[in-house]
Assembly symmetry: C2
Homo-oligomer: 458 residues x 2
């Protein structure tokens, strides 16, 4: 948690941006895993934490702009619960900690709203909150997300997108934990060890620091499958292991890194050929990213470098610039260059990617490859972005495109066939857009230059 004044200031700014009406920010409830009392690890709503700071379940923050009042709404815990959960501060004490003087039990929420007609809320991701809002406002739960307040969404995105120094400090703490997770995973990456063993190392280290994984870790010899969770498969000498994992603090600040480690300890020549292209693309972003540049252009710069280098390697052919314009490179890179990161690992994705990553100038695309770009608009100082280019050989996609005769002018399918079982490589770091360019976040770099990786794990 930050200082009381931080939360007071944030709510003040939000009030000014939204201008009128009542703002409701719903905190999360416990999420049942397999029965009501067996909950997943509690994860507070990020916007609730941003404006109301508290981690307890069952709270709703209310900002009544028209009457200039703020409330923290929630039920206190009684003696019977204390036996099970220990001492829990009262809702009143939680409210005071973040500069709010009025509280109320949950059954008073409807009364607080009263007859107000201008009610702003954010689109919830949890179905219990959809039911709660639905009941409160007389909407079907399935319609609750689409009735969320665009004005509130835009105000929240504006504010949360630009990270303050104290937020960057929190992100860098998460990156320190992420560093420990990744370097331990790299050291543990040996033939015969299972993918799930590496997954256990990542989860165990995150939790040992009272952090959690910022998303389900991707640990796989099949790097070409974007979201492949660890299997019980033993690691095979000669293959690569892709780990995409991050840490998240109790306050929600995230890290997100990807490293690829040769299971035998050394990269083969074929692996070096592809790895060095991804490495160059990754480093291009660090060199070029600066405020005011469209992230879409940064993405396309990376695609052109990738296409040029894949052409040198004989996997692509023709003019690389034309190939990228046509979309041929998306066989190898079907996803976007990176996303905003903050209190959510895909920052504010739940508020609608179109509001986070796009604006009137840069609209989202429906083209294959570009439709997965999570951000296109001009980046600003204080934004944290992931830099995560990758090259993948996806057998089903190769077969499909080959059968369809797609991009025959730009893709050398015979050569591609030699990489059929290669897997995939991605290198990912988190960067801060500064006033003049960008800075890679984190006090220590998780090794990623080829020689550094081989040295580190030897």
């Amino acid at each position: 948690m930050f200082s009381k004044q931080t939360y007071i200031n944030r709510r003040q700014t939000l009030k000014e941006k939204v201008g009128s009406g009542i703002i409701l920010i719903f905190g999360h409830n416990d999420a049942p895993s397999n029965y009501p009392n067996n909950a997943y690890m509690f994860r507070q709503d990020s916007s609730f934490m941003y404006y109301f700071g508290q981690h307890r379940d069952g709270l709703v923050g209310v900002i009544d702009i028209d009457n200039d009042r703020e409330y923290l709404v929630g039920n206190d815990i009684d003696i019977d619960d204390v036996i099970w959960t220990g001492f829990v501060p009262s809702v009143h004490d939680l409210a005071e900690e973040v500069g709010i003087h009025d509280t109320a039990p949950m059954d008073r929420l409807k009364h607080i709203i009263g007859t107000a007609t201008e009610i702003h809320y954010l689109p919830p991701c949890r179905h219990d909150i959809m039911i709660q809002i639905g009941d409160l406002l007389g909407i079907h739960p399935a319609k609750v997300r689409e009735s969320a307040s665009l004005r509130l969404i835009k105000a929240v995105v504006d504010m949360r997108a630009v990270k303050t120094d104290e937020e960057i400090e929190e992100i860098e703490k998460s990156i320190t934990v992420g560093y420990r997770m990744h370097t331990a995973a790299m050291k543990a990456c040996n033939p015969g060890v299972s993918e799930s063993y590496i997954g256990g190392v990542l989860a165990g280290i995150a939790q040992s620091y009272a952090y959690r994984e910022s998303f389900p870790s991707i640990v796989t010899m099949h790097g070409e499958i974007m979201h492949s969770n660890p299997s019980t498969q033993p690691l095979e000498a000669g293959r690569l292991l892709l780990c995409d994992a991050g840490a998240e603090s109790i306050d929600g600040y995230c890290s997100d890194h990807t490293r690829v480690t040769p299971i035998s300890g050394k990269f083969t020549q074929q692996q070096r050929d592809i790895y060095t292209i991804v490495e160059a693309c990754h480093d291009l972003v660090i060199e070029k990213a600066h405020p005011g540049m469209k992230w879409l252009d940064m993405h396309l710069d990376v695609c052109r470098l990738m296409a040029t280098r894949l052409t040198d390697l004989g996997l692509m052919k023709g003019n690389p610039e034309e190939a990228v314009r046509a979309g041929a490179h998306t066989l190898f890179l079907p996803h976007g260059l990176g996303h905003m990161m903050g209190m959510d690992v895909h920052d504010m994705e739940g508020l609608g990617q179109i509001h986070v990553g796009f604006d009137d100038e840069v609209r989202p695309s429906t083209e294959f490859g570009l439709e997965c770009l999570r951000c296109g608009r001009r980046v600003q100082p204080g934004w944290v972005m992931t830099d995560e280019p990758g090259i993948y050989f996806i057998p089903m996609l190769i077969d499909k495109w080959k059968a369809e005769g797609k991009y025959l002018d730009f893709l050398n399918y015979d050569r591609i066939e030699q990489f059929r079982n290669f897997g995939g490589i991605r290198i990912e770091d988190d960067i801060l857009i500064t006033d003049t360019g960008c800075r890679v976040l984190g006090k220590e770099t998780i090794p990623y230059h080829i020689d550094d990786v081989e040295d580190f794990i030897s």
Copy 2:
């Protein structure tokens, strides 16, 4: 997964028990953590796994008893998803694996139900399923749980309560993982290490075997708080660390154990005095539990032994039998002796504890202490129960009762005051009710006799 025939037989038995109508068993969907695409680790519904075996999200099993047809309902995954998740078998293939020939996409579910009026479903714990059932049957989501089919609940409880040999084998595999978790935690239990570090060890080991924790691990120097999750507090020499944790396989089979470790490596005399009472209570269950006995009686036997020994120690006074009848012992043991365990760590708790642990002969109690007894009825061969007595010194409860002058004939508050900061001790193992008595499950015993514990961690 078990054999195809196992699932066919289970559904056949269920059909016979329910007799008529249509049974709907809803599988789980992904549960969002902080935005729709950032899901918690997928956890399938246990009853869905029991009858339909499959682990994929977005499935519903249908057993139309009246027309003697079975369906697996769910949507197939297309090529775009394959890039993100890898190859996923078709719903048809998943159905065939468990002996079902008819499948349908989700938007056909309403059509399959048709005009049937006798629809049986289980009370869901997830709010997305409440909305889904609500829409399907025209009920408000908040009313869905109470409209569940009692006949179906009772049939499922009857079947799932009695574990087959192959299920016991799965539980014992989970216990093997639980053994590794607990023994590693005991070895890591040293002054200066944080509670969360031990939590990381438990989570990391579970996941390294492709298991998960069967519930959020309780790791605490404050054993008197029943559900205390690990803090960042460093372990203090002289105190005890209570770890209550278990493993759960992908098929949902659980383990659940509690051990208490002296952080300094040796128990103090005061700790020995309390520990040996809990140990004796724990061992009494192993000695006495047998089929046909009311679990409520087993609980009360343990309470009487505990009260007798606490009287010897001067913490209680008067006649122990009368003290237990009056409820004075619940200051020390405010929870029940144990619960059924299986595919849920509190087995089938989501179906309603009253249907799982009670019957016409033994009704649940509302008295303090007894209201937390999760099972009272006669245990049967094949049931798996936890044996988990504990003694706790809960400062807020002691102060409250003392101020109220409660049980002055049975409680020696002056002596209790000397244990004010003691914490709490619980010892927990999982037992199988056999034809003649019971058997402690697990190939190896996590050390719990005082000398064994001290030897093991030295």
